[in-house]
Amino acid sequence: MNWNIIDTWLLVTASLIAMACVLPGVFLLLSRQSMVAHGIAHAVLPGIVIGHLVSGGVETPALLTGAIIAGILCTVFTRFLHRFSGVEEGAALGISFTTLFAIGLIMQRLLADHVHIEPSHVLFGNLETAIFQVILEGGGVPDAAWRGLFALAINLVFVGFFFKELTITTFDAAHGDTVGARPRLTYYLLMAMSALTCVIAFEAVGSILVVAMIIVPPAIASLLTKKLKTLVALSLLIALFCAVTGYLLSLGFLGDTISGAMGFPKVGSTNTAGGISVVCGIVFVVTLITKKLANRNPPHTPGQRHDTKKENE
């Protein structure tokens, strides 16, 4: 395996994006809205198409803006369906994002059929090509890396600035209202942050695997700690670990193992984003099992009593 500049940039970009994703992820997870990320990831399609129709290009901020607006619209619709007609939250989300996606698909086919928004490209993502082009065109820092850094920086600033509001809103929106934390504004800011992150990330990692990076590292961290600040820090670390490991394994190990197990010849590198989410999944399962085993024979210390009591419930 010969390492070169492309690999370095791929690794950096993947890590930046993975870390950017967990920041909204922590709060989505805690406010039980994990699937919202999944919804946003689909719902951005009409925004992208409209952005394209307005601007006429495929690589402009118009697409990004359109996508973010569509993503936020999806959450607005979901909330509206839930409040107005009493539709159960999961179903409300399902209705709004499938409908938005369908609208996007129809608009694309009827109005912008010449644009190649390949489903496989949107849904699977391709970090390799995103980086490769820039390197071929003359080096420097690739756009994807800049965007990853931008997303991470914005999310860090947002979470740092609104940490108190986010905490209150996530755990007790009614209380947030009484102390002036403006839960609705905070909610929509969080949604905007999720949409922005999704859109930036899915160019590189695909719209569905974004969800793995948003939800799984915070979920792993939530198995390990109950403190919010620790949770955020731990999620960032886990995301970094998963991104690096996932990337390294994707260089050959994963593909070779799979094809070797089936008795096929060796294959080259496999999809990086897929590799990262597989690693996330493995870490999750291992953590959960370890935690279960540790809880099975709890040492009789006062600190552990709380946990074992919960376990018996």
Binding site: M35, G94, I208, L209, G274
Partner: protein, 468 residues
Amino acid sequence: MNSPDSWILASSWLDRLIEAVRSPSYNLKVIYLGVTSLGLAAGVCGCFLLFRKRSLLSDTIGHSTLPGVCIAFLLYARWGSGGKSFIALMIGALITGWLSVRAVQWIKNNSKIKEDAALAIPLTVLYGLGVVLLSVVQDSNLNLQGSSGLEYYLFGMVASMIQAEAIMLAVVSLGALTVISLFFKELNCLSFDEDFVASQGLPHRWLDEVLMLTCLTVTIAGLQTVGLLMIMAAFIIPPATARLWTDSMPWTLAIAGFVGATGALIGAIASAVIFRLPAGAAIILASALLFGFSMLFGSRKGWVVRQLKVARLEKRLSENQLLRDLFDRLEAQQKVRLLAGLDFSSDLARVSLPVHDILKDRDWSQRKERSVARSLSRQNLLKFKRGDFVRLTTQGLERAIEVARTHRLTELYLIEHADVAPARVHQYVEKIEEITGPEIASDIHQLFSNELEQALIPAEPHRGGDTS
């Protein structure tokens, strides 16, 4: 429609619509059969997912089939004859789909992670695995025949549906409907009270498994033909639509099935009529439109019905308020005695009362005063006299007494049992009056039977002191 071109276009659309509805081509008939039966079965199965707040499970199942499809493809290429074997891919999809259902359950049972994340984690992780496997499958070193386009397995192509697929969809749907009607009672219980089912000695785990397998089979049968997103929408939108119309379980299933089938049919027809309109998306949109229509006009939670209910309630409350005020005035004039043996056959009811004067403490508009009084007079509860004077009829007096009694008993109850300050109790009762009726009043009367003795109506508790 000013240029002749658009005329021709419009008329050709109309022609195509008439043709698509009245004499569809063979291909179209196949598509109609396939999507309609799928819409029907998915709508019905989706109800059970919705009741258990698991609507998005079909999403998880759908995405989790990708690794199964790829593994099946690889195994079939290694040990079978290679290529895209429909049966092999379907079995692979079934296995990982089932795995994802178990994974959701496992996460929920073994950690404090909530439903949403328990659905999202298997979805993305298995999908990620699928993407990795896909890049193995499509690697040039392997050079497997038929590997390109395997990812389109998830997206489906309604337009290219063949007869065998349509028949398979019809059979799967029929099977799913049979299973559901066989276990209808048990599944019904399971949806609302799992513990009850367990306590009745029914095999609830096994039932759950049957239900999940049914949903799984329908999902996977649909994936290949209509695509992931449409199958998800078919599971989610029709049941949610049905809930806007009805409360009852059998009706929910029937309406969901109907909406699913109709939405699918409309979408399929639309895509046949409009050039380049993707059928899967058209079907989702048609179902969404049916949902939007139901949001407005649904008979249970539709906007119109709710508005009407509110208006009716408001009207009834205003009527009661007017009657009570009239009664208070009669009482103040000592025309009605409070004790038992109340005699309203005599000339009590003949007293004329000035409506406007009586209502001066309520900030009602004149129009409202008049319309409320008119509505009471239509019910023959009061009669208009000269000017704005009215007179209660015998029935009117009876109802006024009932209303005043309920009101005062509720006030009394709140003062004695809920520690509401007497000065504020009046406002409280005005607010909660919509839920207190004669039954509650008689309960409260029982409660105070000692103190009230034979009094039919207690004095207004918040004014105090004039009963004695």
